[in-house]
Symmetry: C2
Subunit: 344 residues, 2 copies
């Protein structure tokens, strides 16, 4: 009997030790990160109406926002694929390749600013960019408004969504409706979030080791908060510039926004929620494997060559950031009329 | 009081006369057309399993079936837009323009054969075409199978959908799963269908006039059956060839399938279900207005210049062919693995 009792006692002690370690790890993590809230129903402090969100849902999938009538918001921020497009840089009008990898729309509401260089303060401002970009949807605000006004059901939907506006079908309101939809695109309930809330079993041993390494090595100095990133701007290559294929010299990042020398090759710290779903990595989209991306970050940002099992543990932790993906209906869009501008 | 009674009696007589006319029109129509059934759950006589339809639903929206990872089945057969793409001819790999207008997938299960020239006997055979076409998805069966096998959730889903196959992830099974999904893409309950089933008020007076004209003028000689077309092959320009912009001389239609001289410029009679949602019209996609398309058909197929109010009444009838659009979820797709072939 004694030979039985000892292991039982021993495993009991281990359990207590683990619980203590998990609690400590959780406390440290909760000081740096926050779980994704279950639901977001506000845009910058203002409640989103159902009419606005419903309209935004249709606009999100409508290729008629593009000049060709082929490209929608969802083309590059595909809700089937983690809210990005899983290609190095997006393909837009005329099969042109965009300059940077498409950032995920999922949880984008939690970023301090939008785009890799933070040039849009919020999602409404962001939404106006790709619609007009020559390499993306290649449209103009006037043409978009003419398109939306030509479609009777859209004209009504804008009236319902913006009942106090004299001229409700506007480029601004289009962007606001898109934002009203996008705030619903959150991914709560990831294993990491469940761990933060007290579920020790939500992360396995390797993921916990990765989380500890992520905090101890300095990753969380930039990648923190609810989105595990997306809050501040940092030079890519704090310690050592990565190779030109990963950091092309022609893209000076936030410098083009601020025109300040110290902002050369500065980018918004990538938000890492659902990062396992959104390869390839970095603004250049040149790295497909999460372990390799982690190793590059160690070199360039921390000046530290991570051992393979360290990079692997951090990647395992990052895979715990995949949350419940939004369940979205594929909308039936209102038909064009004879007045709708034709695709070009 | 008498002055009141007479109109009441008179309107009573009119009602009886209308009911009689509607019944006669309905009887004639029911001899030529058939309502869309509420649900299709079979593929060529074989019951579709939920696992097959679910898998097909994912494959339908998956851009990784294309070489670029950007184009899915739904790009050109957009379920938001009546199952076509509302551009003259589809835009595919490298922004190449396809040779013909994208036919709607909605109710395609009821067509006798698929494509404008009927070169695919069924939807399974059809599905293999665009995936391989250089101007569309530009992929190869081997590469598609390698892609699907590299994604563990797909490998499992194929196993569940095709439990008796030794090697369930195959190009054939991909196409079969797509077909299993596509048979659900029907649009019952159009005003015309409700009229066929006995609801006199489902069509207004102009639509009834249009229906009568459609049958009396000879349109229904080719456009008949459940899909109001899609059953047989006819020369475009039976009586008079339309202009070269509408009937380009380079596209000889079914001739390229049968290599038979009498099949030059022969096409499958377009199925007209939901035709109001699928401009532009004809295989060349050069005509945007339904009334104009009807007038061209009158000239070219019937040798009859339809008066504007006749073309307008027929178009009004055709608008009654828009049924309840399928309600489809936008699926969350299984993530790629390190072995997944990269986009090109």
């Amino acid at each position: 009997m004694m030979s039985c009792r000892i292991p039982v006692l021993f495993s009991g002690l281990l359990l207590i030790a683990n619980v203590g370690a998990a609690d400590e790890l959780r406390d440290r993590a909760n000081a740096i990160f926050k779980p994704i809230p279950d639901k977001v129903t506000q845009v910058r402090g203002q409640a989103v109406s159902d009419d606005q969100a419903r309209l935004g849902h249709k606009l999100w999938f409508d290729p008629r926002l593009s000049r060709s009538h082929v490209i929608s918001c969802n083309t590059c921020h595909n809700l089937s694929l983690g809210g990005g497009d899983n290609v190095p840089t997006s393909i837009g009008h005329g099969w042109q390749k965009g300059p940077r990898n498409s950032p995920t729309v999922l949880n984008a509401v939690f970023n301090a600013a939008q785009f890799w260089d933070g040039r849009a303060a919020d999602l409404q401002a962001q939404a106006k960019g790709p619609v007009q970009a020559g390499v993306e949807m290649n449209n103009t605000p006037d043409r978009v408004v003419a398109t939306l006004k030509s479609i009777p059901e859209y004209a009504n939907a804008f009236k319902e969504a913006f009942p106090n506006d004299k001229d409700p079908v506007s480029f601004d309101n289009m962007a606001y409706a898109l934002e009203a939809f996008e705030v619903s695109l959150t991914t709560p309930n990831s294993p990491f979030d469940r761990f933060l809330k007290g579920d020790d079993k939500a992360l396995d041993a390797k993921q916990k080791e990765g989380l500890a390494l992520f905090m101890d090595s300095g990753c969380s100095a930039c990648h923190n908060g609810v989105n595990v990133g997306g809050q501040g701007y940092f030079p890519f290559g704090v310690i050592k510039k990565p190779g030109a294929e990963i950091l092309p010299s022609g893209d000076k990042g936030r410098f083009t926004v601020t025109n300040t020398a110290t902002d050369e090759y500065v980018f918004r710290a990538a938000p890492l929620r659902n990062v396992a779903l959104t390869p390839p990595y970095f603004h250049s989209g040149e790295v497909w494997e999460l372990e390799q991306a982690v190793a590059i970050m160690g070199d360039s940002q921390l000046g530290r060559t991570l051992k393979p099992d360290e990079a692997s543990a951090i990647a395992a932790f990052l895979r715990s950031l995949t949350g419940t993906q939004p369940q979205v209906a594929y909308p039936v869009l209102p038909p064009s009329s004879a007045d709708t501008p034709k695709p070009e």
